[in-house]
């Protein structure tokens, strides 16, 4: 389980996160934020495994990623 949160008001709509998601889960919203950009959002949270590549690519620290801790065998 993973959870990705987008801080919409900080997003400048550069779309770099959409480029790096290995599963192509990130798209740009239809609506605009207060800065006038279409903020990034995730389409299907269940498919996300929390790799955090999107967060590492984001120049504006819009994205936070949480994930279940790996079970130690």
């Amino acid at each position: 389980m993973a959870r990705v949160t987008f801080r919409e008001e900080r997003c400048k709509g550069c779309e770099l996160c959409t480029l790096v998601c290995p599963k192509g889960l990130i798209t740009m919203s239809e609506h605009i934020n207060s800065m006038g950009f279409h903020p990034a959002t995730i389409t299907d949270m269940d498919k996300c495994n929390g790799c955090a590549l999107c967060a590492r690519m984001c120049p504006d620290l819009v994205i936070e990623v949480e994930r279940d801790e790996k079970k130690v065998v």
Binding site: L16, V20, V65, E69
Partner: protein, 247 residues
């Protein structure tokens, strides 16, 4: 659930002024992550340049100076000599460091000043409106080379990492890029290594970071990362140019 990615502690929670897609934000974050990981926020002293990244002093929560255009390595020299326990770094663009500040950077490296330089190379003067920089590639269109850079009139791009690695005073010199997550991880490791080398008093360290400038390149951010990969990396090969013997 455990947070696997969040804002570094030493990175202030304010909106950044950069254009959409500008990778200065990523490079700032890597510096802040390094400051956190090396637990040196009380020791770190940064020197801001003139250029787009002048406002770095608002974003990273450590002591900061702001130097005249290109003079950051000279200011950092003074800071380091007065506060030898400080971890001193400059953050400079290519217009700042490779053009107006060439004398300062070359002699700081030649003297083996124990400072770390983060050199952001986006092949253009960004803040002033996209004029040709010393690092502009051959054929690249800028506002002062509207038909593309030509060797007859404009000479050839300067390779700072290669140049500074020939000096005996330099200790760790590398070139990295931030156009994809894999390279961002490598850039992080390189920046951390440069700070560690400084903390071991081994001499001058510089990390050149290839960066995108969608606004002045006239491309979208997505096109810009592709352009960097296809055009800048062949001319500016990535890698470590100089590593101290024991590291």
């Amino acid at each position: 659930m455990k947070k696997v990615f969040t804002r570094p502690e030493s990175f202030n929670d304010i909106p950044m002024h950069y254009c959409p897609g500008c990778t200065h934000g990523i490079i700032h974050r890597l510096v802040a992550e390094t400051i956190d990981e090396l637990n040196m926020v009380d020791r770190a002293i940064g020197v801001a340049p003139v250029g787009c990244s002048v406002f770095i002093y608002n974003y990273i929560d450590c002591d900061m100076y702001q130097a005249s255009h290109g003079r950051a390595p000279a200011v950092a020299t003074g800071v380091k000599r007065v506060v030898p326990d400080g971890v001193v770094f400059t953050y400079q663009g290519d217009g700042d460091m490779a053009a107006i500040g060439t004398a300062e950077i070359v002699h700081a490296a030649a003297r083996g000043e124990n400072i770390t330089v983060i050199f952001v190379n986006n092949a253009v003067y960004a803040m002033t409106g996209g004029q040709m920089a010393p690092t502009t590639l051959m054929g690249q269109k800028t506002t002062t080379t509207p038909h593309g850079r030509e060797s007859d009139a404009n000479g050839y791009p300067v390779k700072m990492a290669e140049m500074l690695s020939t000096l005996d005073g330099s200790s760790y010199i590398s070139r990295v890029s931030v156009h994809d997550p894999k390279n961002i991880n490598k850039a992080k490791k390189s920046i951390k290594k440069a700070f560690e080398v400084q903390m071991e008093n081994k001499g001058f360290t510089m990390v050149e970071v290839l960066s995108i400038c969608p606004t002045n390149w006239g491309l979208s951010p997505k096109e810009s990362v592709k352009w960097l990969d296809e055009n800048m990396i062949p001319y500016y090969p990535l890698g470590e140019y100089k590593v101290p013997a024991e590291v």
